[in-house]
Amino acid sequence: MKVKNAETGATVEMELEVENTIDEVIESAATFWSKDMGAYVLRKGKKVLRGGNTLKDAGVVANDVLELIPDPEGG
């Protein structure tokens, strides 16, 4: 499965188990790209994935490309 950095277009291949959670994917990808501390979400297609879900629950399969998006919290 690949994760795409929405801000740069870069992608990273991740080796994951079906029991890994979306939270874990978000945090791993954010750490890999040395993202600033902040809130991020992961999307698959037109849906934002739920953090606590496992990849299996979220319906994520091997060749999917998920996208890491910053969730801006300023006002």
Partner: protein
């Protein structure tokens, strides 16, 4: 019988051009009560858009005072407000009144957490113009649990987001949050304010993205009070002004979300 048509009269009606939008219910706009939580950059733009759109009854809540670094993106704040350390909520209320004499803005100089629950009642809509996750979670819960529509906006530099929560059905703001939100929940992502810890980096912020996010928030507000749920965002809008991209994404309802499981 309607009033006789007078030559040029359509150019004297402040809302004539708005009335030409067929689905816009201007009577409902005039009657609706809206709460704006946060009177910073987004709060300024949202209040301006609401006032020009015909909203008259606004409650504006913010505890902060105006500082110089607000002035690159806050229409209603002036150098004089900086010198006098004006309260943001009161400065925005004055600004609203200055562009819409018929409006009735009320300022609450307070943290929203200290505003009595009863103040939420009677509002048709809450607009979140906040700078931290914790307060967003609070306002989201107060609005959703009372059946009040909630429109939340967020900005950072050229990035923006708007989410619409329409109780009693559908996702709320917290449904879309994850562990990264929890980790930064207590941080304030603003540039200013007495409670900002000095070592927390200030976020980039500028007016064009603020304007776009605020415009979308008020556009959704117009749809909500006009009872056009079919036209509403479903249910989040992400904007990236640096890459010239925007997209509507769905945040599904999370049955384990504390807001839904507490109801």
């Amino acid at each position: 019988m309607s009033a006789p048509l007078r030559i040029g009269s359509i150019d004297h009606d402040r809302y004539d051009r708005s009335r030409r939008i067929s689905w816009l219910d201007m009577d409902s706009v005039f009657r609706s009560r809206v709460m704006i939580v946060g009177a910073g950059a987004l709060g300024n733009e949202v209040a301006k858009n609401l006032a020009l759109s015909g909203f008259r009854n606004m409650t504006i809540v913010d505890m902060d005072k105006v500082v110089g670094s607000n002035l690159n993106r806050c229409l209603f704040f002036t150098d004089d407000d900086v010198r006098r350390e004006s309260n943001k909520a009161e400065a925005v209320a004055r600004g609203v009144k200055s562009i819409s004499a018929e409006s009735d803005p009320k300022a609450f100089v307070s943290m929203i957490e200290d505003v009595p629950d009863r103040e939420f009642d009677g509002h048709d809509l809450v607009l979140g113009c906040l700078d931290n996750v914790q307060t967003r979670v609070h306002v989201n819960f107060k609005a959703y649990s009372r059946g009040i529509a909630y429109v939340d906006g967020g900005i950072e530099g050229f990035l923006g987001k708007v989410m619409v929560a329409m109780p009693p059905k559908g996702a709320c703001l917290q449904c879309g949050m994850n562990r990264t939100h929890a980790r930064v929940a207590e941080l304030r992502f603003s540039c200013t304010g007495k409670d900002v810890v000095l070592h927390v980096p200030r976020l980039p912020a500028e007016i064009t993205t603020t304007s776009i996010v605020a415009a979308i928030m008020v556009r959704e507000a117009l749809k909500i009070v006009s009872k056009r749920r079919d036209l509403l965002l479903q249910n989040a809008f992400y904007y990236d002004g640096q890459r010239n991209m925007s997209e509507e994404l769905e945040v599904p309802l999370d049955p384990d979300c504390p807001v839904h499981s507490r109801r």
